[in-house]
Structure formats: C-alpha cells, structure tokens
C-alpha cells in the first residue's frame, strides 16, 4: 500500500484524463489526412455469397471478413540493406454459428465458388462441434452499422519511396557507427496497410483501412570478451510516415549508440531491494503483461488455459468491484478510440463500435475486456449489456476472438515528471526501455529488465548500471506504487506482435503511462557466468 508520508496525488477520472490525453495528441494529428477508401465490390459480393450459403444451412448468425493485407519490411545492418520484402495477402474468412456452435473456414480462392466452399466448410465445422459442446453460444446485442474508416495519416508509409526509407536508415546507421566501440547496428521498418471488410448476417457492412508503422534501431558495442546491445524504444504506432519522421532517427542515432558503448563500462548492479523508478518506455510493457493480459475475460474463465494461461483476476464474481489492484490514484483505461494507438478501430471484428472504459478505478478492478459472446457471461456483475468491442483476428485466415484493446495507466492529477520522482528518491534505480520480459501463466510472478539503468542516490542519478532485472508479484508490485507522473510525462508505447490463442495469432496494441515509482522491489543481478 502507499506510504502515508509521501506526497498526495488524487486519482483522476477516466473521462477527464482521456480528454487531456486526446487533446494533446489531437494537436499533432491536424487536418489533411487521407480519405478512407470504400469497399472493393468483389469483397462485398463474395461476403454476401458466403452469408447466403450459411444462412441457407441454418446458421443463426454469421459474418464474412475480406482482408487485403500489405506488409513491407526493410532491414539494414551497418552500411548495407540486408532485406527488402513486400507481402500481399488477400482472402475471405467465414464464421458461422449453427446450433449454438462456432465454425470458421477461410480461403484465398476469391471466386464465388471459393466463397461457397469456405461457407460450407464453416457450417460443417460448426455441426461437428455440436457433439462436444456444453453451452450454446449467445451473443450480446449490437446495432447494425455501415460505413468506412481509416487510420488518420498524412502520408501512407507504403507510398513513401523506398529510396527515402533506406536513406533514412543508412544515415542513422552511419551516425551510430561514429561511436567508438560500436561495431554493429541494425535498423529497419515494418510498415502495414490492412483493408478489412466485415459483412454480418445482421446487416453490418463496414470497411476499414489500418495503417501501422514499426521502426526499430539497435546498436552493439564490443570490447575484448564482452558485447553490449542497446535497443531504442521506437514505439510502433497506428500512424503514418509523419510519425517516423518525428522520431528523427538519424539525428538521435549517435546518442542512442553511445548508450551501448556506455553499458560496456557500467557498474554491475548489487542485488537487493530498491525503489524502482520506471520510465514509460519500460512501464508500458509491465502494464501490458500484468494488467492487460490478466483482465482478458477468456483467460479468467479458462479458455486460454492450454496456451497463454489463466488469470489471478478470477473468478469474475469475486473480483469485479472487489479486487484491490493498486493504490487509490491508480486508474487504468481500456480504449479502442485512442489516437495514434495500435489497436484503434472504428468497429471491431464483430461490427461493435469502439469503446472506452475503465478496467481499474481508484485502484479497484472494475471490468474485463469482452466480445459479444463474453459480454453475456458477466452482464449481471457489471451491468454492461454491450460488448466492449475486443474482437479481432490477425488476418482473413484466422478466426476472430478476444484481443486486448489499448490499455493505459492514466496520469496523476499533479503534473510531476521523472526528474521530480528521482529528486524524491533516496536509493533507487531508473529503468528505461523494454529488455527481457517474462510472467507466469496466472500473471503473478514476473521478471522484467530494460535497456538502460541508472542508479539513484539521495535524489540524484549517480551513474549507469548493468545486469539489472526486477522481479515481483503483480498485486504486491502495483500496491507498492507510491508516485505517479502527470500528463506531460505521459507516453504511448506498444507492441506490434502480441501473441495469444491457438493457433497463435498476433495483434498490435498500445499502452500509455507516465513514469511511476514502486517501493522496495527485488533487483537481481543477471551477470552470472557458470
């Protein structure tokens, strides 16, 4: 629990904090964004063809998704390009609910015959499932919608000339190699454009175009018998090329590379208990793992038991409104409307409009992440009849299921910064960027590291450390949080490739937070040699 002698920070409401954040980000995403494309007529035709087949076979609900995905990857090392590739994937996925059971089938044969065959297979799979089904699936209501939407971007990254992208990376690498002892640099981009049309048997017909950019940069410094790598936290975003330009990777590369060199001579940490000051570039991933995943409702009721695991936030009737996650000033918001975020949509993969809601309010667990099927399971506990709109499939060839929305720790009311937290700390460690991350299958025991660590003594940073990892238990850790940064120190991190489900699917998700302090956290030294 929080220390009574610390400064007091009042919790903010979700709506107020969200408004603050949105306003700040909205200022950057000014006008002149590209217009959302409308649906490809063939996509609509084939989706309707598939829906006709499944309706005729007795499906009580069905949806057909047509996706056209383009992913461009550019990789460089030192002064050369090590790979350029451009992938296109196009196809149709059909999901049918027959006798209360789901069936899904997908095809890349984009003809009427191909759509019919996939629809028939989806029905056959649903019928086969009937023999092994305890409870029929029921869906929460949602109004039918039609429309188009596109990630607001000024420049579609796939339309930026390749030479320009390569030149930016090589310039960055050249700058990094100016640092003495830095011998290796790698940098690159993953650039995505996804066009997705969803047509449902209930009348929904929406087409969305998603743009995402994922830059990366790392530098390795070597010394006899030693090497140290620094990866900068160039957060992927649901934004256009203008975001990449705003990072000024070439202008920062030398400074970033020098951190790798500095790590070679950093002091190895002395294991023990420290006050931990986590920069948002590190804390976003801790939020993802210790709040994002445990509050997925399918995990809580056991549907992920064989793969990603279950959750300590269970069962719902014993945790909703009851489980104390952290201090009073802790408010965690799920938000599929957040600007620049990776999981922003207008509608999810069931046609449910994007939602924003509190997962944790004033330190107490409030609600899970849900799809239409799941909303019914906890409606009596939350009073929420609608799905929170968390249905997502990684591609046309994968079935949609519950995936994480953007989940963020809202900033505190007082606008304090990382420097303020350092100044208030006697003996601590500041950790920046993601390093290694691992957490158990119910999300209790975790161990994370970063890319750069600073020792804090008597309110000042006194030097760099190495070989650091922090290990804790989720409820203990969040209840040890006693300082939280304000809105000006809020930063949005994220992951391009969050895995879940069988077969495993990836999704992209963002997490925002300010810097925070956690009291008396176990620090390990990872530098063992035998």
């Amino acid at each position: 629990m929080s220390n009574p002698t610390r400064r007091h920070f009042l919790g903010t409401t979700a709506a107020a904090a969200a408004a603050l954040v949105s306003t700040r980000l909205a200022g950057r995403a000014a006008a002149q964004t590209l217009a959302a494309p409308s649906a490809d007529p063939l996509a609509i035709e084939l989706a309707n063809e598939a829906l006709n087949v499944v309706r005729g076979a007795g499906a009580t609900y069905a949806d057909a998704r047509v996706g056209r995905y383009r992913r461009q990857t550019i990789q460089t090392r030192e002064r050369q390009v090590s790979g350029v590739s451009d992938e296109e994937s196009y196809g149709l996925g059909v999901r049918a609910l027959v006798n209360g059971c789901w069936g899904f089938a997908a095809t890349s044969t984009m003809t009427r015959a191909g759509a019919q065959k996939a629809a028939q297979e989806a029905v056959a799979i649903a019928r086969a499932a009937r023999a092994v089904q305890r409870h029929p699936v029921e869906l929460a209501p949602t109004a039918s919608v039609t429309g188009t939407w596109m990630t607001p971007v000024k420049r579609d990254p796939l339309e930026v000339p390749l030479e320009e992208k390569i030149a930016l990376l090589i310039k960055a690498n050249e700058a990094a190699l100016r640092v003495k002892s830095v011998r290796f640099v790698s940098s690159g981009f993953q650039l995505l454009r996804e066009v997705k049309t969803l047509v449902t048997s209930e009348g929904t017909n929406v087409t969305q175009t998603f743009i995402r950019v994922g830059p990366y940069f790392s530098a390795t410094a070597t010394a006899p018998g030693d090497f140290q790598t620094y990866e900068h936290e160039t957060a992927p975003r649901g934004q256009g090329w203008e975001y990449v330009e705003s990072l000024d990777i070439p202008g920062n590369a030398e400074r970033w590379a020098s951190i790798a060199a500095e790590r070679l001579t950093a002091k190895s940490v002395e294991a023990g208990q420290y006050d931990l000051i986590l920069d948002p570039t590190n804390l976003w991933l801790t939020i993802h793992e210790s709040i994002g995943h445990p509050t997925e409702l399918d995990r809580a009721i056991g549907q992920e038991a064989n793969y990603a695991g279950t959750s300590f936030v269970a069962p719902p009737d014993k945790t909703i409104g009851k489980l104390r996650y952290g201090p009073e000033f802790m408010n965690v918001q799920a938000d599929r409307t957040q600007e620049s975020s990776l999981s922003r949509v207008a509608w999810d993969d069931e046609g449910v409009p994007a939602d924003q809601w509190l997962i944790i309010e004033k330190g107490v667990f409030k609600d899970y992440q849900t799809t239409r099927e799941q909303a019914k399971w906890i409606e009596s506990l939350t009073g929420v009849r609608r799905s929170h709109g968390c249905s997502f499939a990684e591609s046309w060839n994968a079935v949609q299921f519950q995936r994480m929305p953007n989940i963020s720790l809202l900033p505190g009311e007082r606008d304090i910064t990382l420097d303020d937290i350092v100044a208030a700390t006697d003996r601590g460690i500041v950790i920046k960027n993601r390093g290694s991350w691992s957490i158990d299958n119910q999300r209790y025991n975790f161990q994370f590291s970063g890319q750069v660590y600073y020792e804090v003594r008597n309110g000042k940073i006194v030097g760099m450390l190495r070989d650091v990892a922090y290990q804790s238990n989720t409820p203990v850790f969040w209840n040890a949080m006693d300082m939280i940064g304000g809105k000006s120190s809020y930063w949005l991190g994220g992951s391009f490739n969050d895995g879940k489900g069988e077969p495993s699917q990836v999704s992209s998700v963002s997490h925002g937070c300010p810097p925070c302090r956690f009291r008396n956290v176990t620090i390990l030294n990872t530098g063992r040699k035998s």
Binding site: I125, P224, A305, Q442
Partner: protein, 447 residues
C-alpha cells in the same frame, strides 16, 4: 499442390521475370485444420487453405522480394514487377550470393495421407476422446488439436527445383482440478496422426493435475532438476541463436572465442551431449532444403560435448571458406525449425532419472522463456503444470511453480544423467535430463 503443379506455377512466375538477372520463387501451399476446446466444449475451430508465392528478384547486385497469395496472371506479374522495382531501388548488396542452380535433395517421406485428411468430424471425435481420457468428473480440460498438410517448393532461374510435402498433427491438453490448486499438461506431435493417442494425452494431463494439487512452498534456490523431455525441448532449441556462425565470428555469441574466432572444436558441455539436425532421420523427417534451395544434410552441432559446427549462411561460409549449413526453410526463424532437431540420449526412463535423485525438483514443462544475457545464453522462465519435490529417489509432493534464470549451455555442463530420447513434437526428439544446481530463483503463486 502436387510436384507438377508446383513446378508449373514456378515456371509461370519465372517466365514473367525474364528481365531479371536472377529470380527465385518460393511456394508454400497449406491446408490447416484445427479444433480448440475448453471446459469440455469446442470453442473455436477452423479450416484454412492458402497458397503463397514469394518472388526474389536480383538485378545486378541488388535484390528484393515480394509475395502474394493471389495467383491470377495479373497479380503474379504485379508481384514480379514489384520485386524487380524494389530491387532496382535498393543499394547494391555486398553480401549477395547468386541464386543456386540444380541441386540434389534427399527425398524425405513426411506426408501421411491420414493426417492430411483429418476432417472436422474426426477432430471433434479425437477431442471427445481426450476429454474422456481425463476420467470425467470435475476436471476442467482445455486443449488444441492442430493439423497441417504443407507443400513447399523452391525454384530458380538457374534451374533449381526443390519440392517437399509434409504433414503434422499436434495435440496438447491442460487439465485443471476443480479447486484450482492443480494443473497438468501433456502434449504430443507427429507427422503421423496414427501415432497420437488422444485418450492417453487426456489421461496424462489429468494425472498430473491431480498429483499437483495443493502445491507446497519450498525455498527458491538451486536444486537438482529432473527435466521431462518436453521441458528439455523448451530449453535446448534456445541454443539456435548462439549457434549462428557469423555472430560467433563477430564476437557476439557464447560460442565466440576470446581473442577472435569461434569455439568450434572446444568442449562446450558434458560429453554425453550430442545434438544434431538431420531431415532424413526417420525420427525427424524434416525439410531437406533451405529457403534458397540449398540441400540440408545431417549437421552435428555438438558431438560428445564438443562444438562441431555452427550455422553458416552461404555468404558467411564462403567468407570463412567452409561449407554452408543452410538457413531455415521458414526464413531464418530458427536454424532448427524446418530441418528437425535431436538430442541423443541414453537408455533410462524418466522414472529412472528420478530414482537416481537424492533431492530435487521434477519439471513437467516451462513457460514464458525470454533471453536475459546473450553472452551466456542465459534465459528466464517458469515451471508450469506440475512441479514436484523428489526425495530419496521418489516424487513426494507437489511444489509451487518456480521462476528460474538458467542457461541451456551452462546447464548442459552440469548434467548428472540423461534419459532416452523420445518424440516430443513433429521433428523434435529429446531425452529427459537430470541437471545439478538448476538455478531456481523465486516462487510463483500461479497454478
């Protein structure tokens, strides 16, 4: 997709790329059928068919790739043109190797018709048998049956053509006791569905779940650990990155020699350790070529504890004047992914390894493993679905799950005993191991 169909498709693409200096076509044709279940009910299941064509075009010393799954003439031409355009826009690649000409590839029969025909009704029946295998009652079961039939082909404008088809089926299941204090897991994979007994997987998972109820607290510290074959399979393949020859030569690998060069020829672990890749091994049945069409042959990475080979790309092999081992068919994700991996073992069962343990911990498998320190191949992770205390050669009680910080390489230097190697997944054979001083570091409340 038959060999002839794959060749015809490759020829169509190569004909569209006549203007290029070199062209490579990679084709992956896949059917997948899966059935997922939880709480004794099928939750999501699906079937997917897809064919992806990747075209890699070389213009002078420039190279780029584009791929599509739209196979009409217009889309294939667009993809070839895009690859050529991306290549022309790229800077010269100083490491570019010419595409390969005709090669001899081993014929590996890894395609089992019964596996390729596992329809939704048969899969649902298998799930039912797995659930029934738990013995019914209040055991909560969740699992996944995943079946694939895949054809891969590589063709180049220099006359190379390679084709391979494979099937695999994997069934895994987690069983949890109704009080939430016990969890068990079992998993098996094979090219051949006939080798999989769903009821036995259900029985094993349920037995582990019951045995692991009410786990006890023990001190988190190094213990002798008996790792079941599935747990060994979670750790040993992590050596893949360290086995990259270039990283070793560049001084950034555990197999880099102090002062330069690699540790090939040095003893790097216990002499009972032999680790190899061999697509033609009947226990592995891997893909006999890599993404460039280079034949993948038997490669012994570690022989009787001595580092014999590292993974050499064609470029790095030429630079170092050695034979290339090839890269992975699935594009470098891991050198072992397509070609298979076997850690040879002895003759003992896991029970015999337990019987030889005075005091230790038995591990079913591991979870959430992440790299901590590449210099020592150090990773962190946790035990999952059953950890047990061993006292005087017997499993005496379940213990809480444990986090560990350990290196598969350093661990293989603390080998006490090795079991017989067995199938753990399609293309993977691993024995149980008994490891001294396995570095457990903290307890987990997770069940």
């Amino acid at each position: 997709m038959t060999r002839d169909e794959a060749r015809a498709l490759a020829d169509r693409v190569l004909a569209l790329s006549k203007a290029a200096d070199d062209t490579r076509v990679n084709i992956t044709s896949e059917w997948g059928g899966n059935t997922r279940f939880a709480d004794a009910s099928i939750t999501t299941s699906g079937g997917v068919t897809n064919v992806t064509v990747t075209v890699t075009v070389t213009v002078g010393r420039k190279r780029a790739a584009a791929s599509t799954n739209v196979l009409d003439e217009a889309a294939l031409k667009r993809t070839v043109d895009l690859a050529a355009q991306l290549a022309r826009l790229s800077p010269d690649d100083p490491e570019l190797m010419p595409e390969l000409g005709a090669q001899k590839h081993a014929a590996v029969n890894a395609y089992i018709e019964d596996t390729a025909n596992l329809n939704p009704v048969v899969r649902a029946g298998a799930v039912q048998r797995a659930v029934q295998g738990t013995g019914g009652g209040q055991i909560f079961s969740a699992g996944f049956l995943d079946v694939h039939a895949v054809e891969v082909a590589v063709a180049t404008s220099r006359g190379l053509f390679a084709y391979h088809r494979t099937t695999d089926a994997d069934l895994s299941m987690t069983a949890r006791t109704p009080d939430g204090t016990g969890s068990g897991w079992a998993s098996i994979g094979s090219r051949d569905w006939g080798a999989i007994d769903p009821a036995e997987i259900g029985r094993m998972a349920a037995q582990k779940a019951s045995a692991s109820r009410n786990p006890q607290v023990i001190d988190a510290r190094p213990y002798t650990a008996v790792l079941e074959p599935q747990a060994v399979n979670d750790l040993v393949p992590l050596l893949a990155n360290a086995l990259n020859a270039r990283n070793a030569d560049e001084g950034r690998s555990a197999f880099s020699k102090a002062g330069g060069g690699t540790r090939i020829g040095e003893k790097v672990c216990d002499e009972r350790v032999t680790l190899y890749t061999d697509p033609a091994d009947p226990d592995l049945l891997g893909v006999p070529f890599d993404v460039e069409g280079l034949p993948i042959r038997r490669t012994v990475w570690i022989e009787k504890g001595i580092l014999r080979n590292l993974a050499y790309s064609r470029f790095w092999a030429q630079k170092q004047n050695v034979q290339p081992t090839g890269e992975d068919i699935y594009n470098g994700a891991s050198v072992f992914a397509g070609a298979g991996l076997k850690l040879t073992g002895g003759t003992k069962s896991t029970d015999e390894l337990i019987a030889g343990c005075e005091h230790g911990v038995l591990v079913t498998h591991f979870f959430y493993i992440r790299s901590l320190e590449p210099r020592t191949v150090l990773f962190t992770g946790l035990t999952r679905d059953g950890a047990f205390l061993i006292e005087k050669g017997k499993v005496t009680r379940p213990v809480k799950n444990l986090r560990w910080n350990e290196s598969p390489l350093l661990m293989l230097n603390r080998l006490e005993d090795i079991g017989r190697s067995e199938a753990v997944a399609a293309g993977r054979h691993m024995p149980a191991l008994r490891i001294r001083e396995f570095n457990f570091t903290s307890l987990s409340d997770a069940v």
